[in-house]
């Protein structure tokens, strides 16, 4: 609680830079991969999975199915390749929102090269703005670029309605694809708790995109939903 006369900035503005102070960072830093990286000749689909649940879920999956090819620990970014195909998966979580466009610069060659880009992110259900009075435990919405995907992913989710917006790395990837006239789809899953009955839909999505198979979803470790350890 604030004291009388104290000027309190809304939480939504805490990430913004203070333009009135001279100490604002002016140096341009470049986020880099930890290992040397070669841009593949063909990328069928680039999946960008954002959020703690999706990042941690990918981490605990079997390495037989996909392999970790590069990372940037500073922004919790990991790049995987599905062993059986030309699909790449990028996971990102807990990064500074101000670094979003720099992360996109790092992913740019992949975003340009990929035939299709699909982003999935999780957000708390309380952030979902709707006039509907009913309370749902999960909601999935989508946004697509003006150039439609050549692939028929059979996604029948409703469009993300105003005033809901997406920001960060996933938004950056979609925005970039829109500006270079290539297809991309953003999926956002608003969920309340990371409990199995709510993540079922999310796992079905990952199965649909062939990121995991039905055996993988069973390995959704209890650690993910546990709050025993940080």
């Amino acid at each position: 609680m604030s004291t009388f006369g104290e000027i309190v900035e809304p939480v939504s503005r805490t990430t913004w830079e203070d333009w009135d102070e001279v100490y604002a960072e002016e140096n341009v830093t470049i986020i880099q991969w930890q290992l040397p990286i070669e841009i593949p000749k063909r990328i069928e689909t680039l999946f960008i999975l954002e959020g703690k649940f999706l990042s941690d879920f990918m981490k605990v999956q079997s390495r037989d199915f996909f392999k970790l090819i590069n990372s940037n620990i500073g922004v919790n970014l990991h790049l995987y390749q599905l062993t059986s195909s030309d699909k790449y998966i990028c996971t990102v979580k807990d990064y500074n929102l101000l670094k979003s466009s720099e992360i996109i610069e790092l992913l740019k060659p992949f975003i340009y090269k990929s035939e299709d880009v699909i982003t999935i992110q999780t957000k708390p259900i309380m952030e979902y703005q709707t006039a509907s009075l009913g309370m749902q435990s999960w909601v999935i919405r989508q946004l697509t670029t003006s150039v439609p995907s050549k692939k028929t992913w059979d996604l029948n989710f409703a469009k993300l309605e105003q005033p809901n917006i997406l920001s960060g790395v996933t938004a950056g990837a979609i925005c970039l694809r829109e500006h270079i006239n290539l297809s991309a789809t953003a999926l956002v899953c608003y969920i309340e708790h990371i409990e199995e009955y709510q993540t079922n839909e999310l796992l079905k999505l990952l199965e649909k995109f062939e990121i995991i198979d039905d055996t993988c979803s069973a390995k959704c470790s209890g650690i993910l939903s546990s709050n025993l350890y940080i």
Partner: protein
């Protein structure tokens, strides 16, 4: 000048004698809310969008039309042919270290499009207002601004400047863009309002009223506020209704 942004134009026509209105991301987002009101009320048409590393990426559905299937992004440009104005609407703040190059490119592109001048809409912290009884609005007009005479006749105060360099506390990139316009010899007017964070919709209405005194965009015969149309994206601006099962 090397281009750092990716521009996507849907209308390549020149913008001769147009005025470019730019909101500075500042206290209470007053500039952006005012631009939302302009775009919605004047049924302005999108002419371009810009992708830049200088902005936090944002995407959403068209904020002005529920039926539209178009994707809305962080930086979009709208125009009104009848009013000869262009609005560069921003949906997210600029990143300080990239801002200068981004704004220089914006001004260069619009100079190529032969715009007449620039109006920057901004805001400053209410607690920075020194003269309590004066108007909450301040203005700064660069040399050659066609609005200088008009604005002097309005009951708003000229920005007080002690340092020789424009500084608007809480005003975001307004002073930087003003400086770039001056360096590019493009006439520029800055309008800002002292306000606090909260429900800043009334501030946006007030801003349009002041803007009207220098740039008559709406009919003077009718009440201004009845001519302003809030965009659909303002619905649920303060959250959704409480869920029924809490009762």
């Amino acid at each position: 000048m090397e281009k750092n942004c990716i521009w996507k134009f849907c209308d390549e026509n020149p913008l001769n004698e147009y005025t470019l209105i730019v909101p500075s991301v500042a206290v209470g987002n007053v500039g952006q809310l005012s631009c939302d009101l302009l775009i919605s009320s004047l049924s302005m048409v999108k002419v371009a969008s810009v992708y830049s590393t200088a902005q936090i990426p944002v995407i959403g559905s068209d904020p002005y039309n529920l039926k539209s299937g178009c994707l809305s992004t962080s930086c979009e440009i709208y125009k009104s042919v009848s009013k000869r104005i262009c609005v560069l609407q921003l949906k997210s703040p600029l990143i300080f270290k990239y801002a200068k190059k981004f704004l220089e490119e914006i001004i260069e592109i619009f100079k190529e499009k032969i715009i007449k001048d620039v109006i920057i809409l901004s805001s400053s912290y209410a607690h920075e207002k020194k003269h309590i009884l004066s108007s909450p609005f301040r203005y700064v007009a660069s040399e050659g601004s066609s609005y200088s005479d008009k604005i002097r006749n309005v009951d708003i105060v000229k920005h007080e400047d002690d340092t020789g360099e424009l500084k608007i506390l809480g005003g975001g990139f307004a002073s930087l863009l003003y400086k770039i316009c001056q360096e590019s010899n493009l006439p520029c007017l800055v309008l800002y309002k002292y306000c606090s964070e909260g429900d800043n919709i009334p501030d946006a209405y007030d801003m349009i009223k002041i803007l009207m005194t220098v740039c008559p965009l709406f009919s003077e015969e009718k009440d201004l506020f009845t001519q302003l149309k809030q965009p659909v994206s303002w619905t649920l601006l303060f959250g959704r209704p409480p869920p029924q099962n809490v009762y």
